[in-house]
């Protein structure tokens, strides 16, 4: 399987990358780890004349742990998320989820920025970032702007990112002490997308609940979060089942997906509550 031809660019900074996107419009695409994009290119389900490789841009790298905020460069790989001890103690939920993404080879190259920016409902990081109330930093021809993860996803593969913008960093408020976190994912096999996955934070009278691959966007539910914050687990599950909108596919019929969604959510809540201070 050989993709259509393209011209390859490896800019050294964000401004140059945006310049290439501006010059070529929708004929250009950025590539991070490429493990979502390259398979699509090989199947000729997508092609472009210009491929803009972000790997040489230092501004897109690095994990920073500050007193009340964590920032992740868009080009940070899943492998780096897993092996970074400072991150694991600041927000353990991220390592727990990253270990459940794809397989070791894919995690060495797959990036957090690619995972959240692609807009694939099967990706795990979007729901996780909604649970954590993260903010995505975007750079484009008109400068920089921030979009909340909870406002970013419009439909499958459609996000608030404009064609000529690049997602550069992700900012995540550190959950306070006493907040328990858990990520539960049901998948058919290693490397598969979730049949259903749940990200939960709970503690100190607060809660946040999001789910993955149960609609054409990740689903963060305010009602489900409020119910859990008040200690009402059944109310939380009921509100979430009301918010999701799964469709039947090769992972199962709608009834099965709702069943698995409830099981994953209850398990995640249970574990997060046990970990809360």
């Amino acid at each position: 399987m050989i993709p259509a031809g393209f011209e390859y660019h490896r800019p050294g900074d964000i401004a140059s990358a945006i310049g290439i996107l501006q010059e070529h419009g929708d004929e250009a695409r950025v590539i991070a780890g490429g493990h979502s994009l390259i398979p699509m290119m090989k199947l000729r389900m997508t092609d472009m004349s210009h491929l803009v490789d972000l790997q040489a841009i230092e501004e897109l790298k690095g994990i920073e742990i500050e007193s009340d905020i964590v920032t992740l460069g868009a080009m940070v790989t899943q492998h780096e998320l897993i092996t970074h001890d400072g991150l694991a103690s600041a927000i353990p939920l991220i390592r727990e989820a990253a270990l459940q993404i794809a397989d070791p080879q894919v995690r060495y190259v797959g990036t957090v920025g690619g995972n959240v920016a692609n807009g694939d409902p099967g990706n795990d990081m979007p729901g996780l970032m909604q649970c954590l109330n993260a903010t995505f930093e975007l750079s484009g021809p008109d400068g920089n702007r921030s979009v909340a993860a909870r406002e970013f996803y419009e439909a499958a593969y459609f996000t608030a990112r404009e064609e000529e913008e690049i997602l550069t960093r992700i900012s995540i408020p550190k959950p306070g002490a006493g907040i328990g976190q858990a990520y539960e994912k049901q998948k058919r096999k290693i490397g598969d997308y979730a049949t259903a996955a749940a990200a939960v934070m709970v503690g100190n009278g607060t809660a946040s609940v999001a789910m993955t691959n149960l609609a054409d966007t990740p689903i963060w539910s305010e009602d489900a979060s409020n119910a859990l914050a008040g200690g009402d687990v059944e109310g939380c599950v009921a509100a979430m089942l009301d918010a999701i909108d799964p469709v039947a596919d090769n992972r199962g019929p709608v009834e099965f997906k709702k069943h698995v969604a409830a099981v994953m959510l209850r398990r995640a809540i249970d574990r997060a509550q046990n970990r809360a201070g």
Binding site: F6, R10, G34, P39, K42, L51, P104, Q105, V109, G191
Partner: protein
């Protein structure tokens, strides 16, 4: 599309060539460099038969453009033999423990196991299975692959101790 100049280090040797940017690393290795250890299995980044080591990372070379790794240091299963050309520890242990039947997945298995043991010299059985999850074998049922990797870890550690 015009070809680009590609420079790589493969198994310790500097190599150069011309390739279209769309050329996949697996094709460049096999067809241009005639390094046929890495195999083309599923071609959809699931099976891991094409796994090579790139700058200290296990990567599926069927899902990597040669343009992306221009300048990189690459190791394939051919690079894991001893200096005198005899089988390296992992290769010897796969033979000893019958960690293969048809052998198609073996180059990817061994190349991935090499990186796993570099990162975790004393893996538990569970850690081996988790660390090898990106490589599929349709013959063995994995049991002897796990045994071979575990035995390799023991032998590498014994060799390290003997050298100290």
């Amino acid at each position: 599309m015009s070809k680009m100049h590609v420079k790589l280090t493969v198994n310790g040797k500097q190599v150069e060539g011309l390739a279209e940017p769309r050329t996949l690393l697996i094709h460049f290795l096999r067809e241009d460099l005639k390094i046929t250890g890495p195999h083309i299995g599923c071609e959809t980044s699931h099976c891991g038969a094409c796994t090579v080591d790139i700058d200290g990372k296990s990567v599926k070379s069927c899902t990597t453009f040669v343009a992306q790794v221009n300048g990189a240091d690459i190791t394939t299963v051919e690079g894991l033999t001893n200096d005198d050309g005899s089988l390296g520890v992992l290769q010897e242990m796969f033979r000893e423990h019958h960690g293969l039947q048809c052998g198609f997945c073996t180059p990817g298995m061994i190349t991935r196991a090499h990186r796993l043991l570099q990162e975790n010299p004393n893996p538990t059985e569970e850690e081996i299975r988790f660390g090898m999850a990106g490589n599929l074998c349709r013959c063995t049922g994995y049991q002897n692959i796990v045994k071979a990797i575990s035995a390799s870890a023991d032998m590498m550690n014994a060799q390290k101790e003997a050298a100290e």
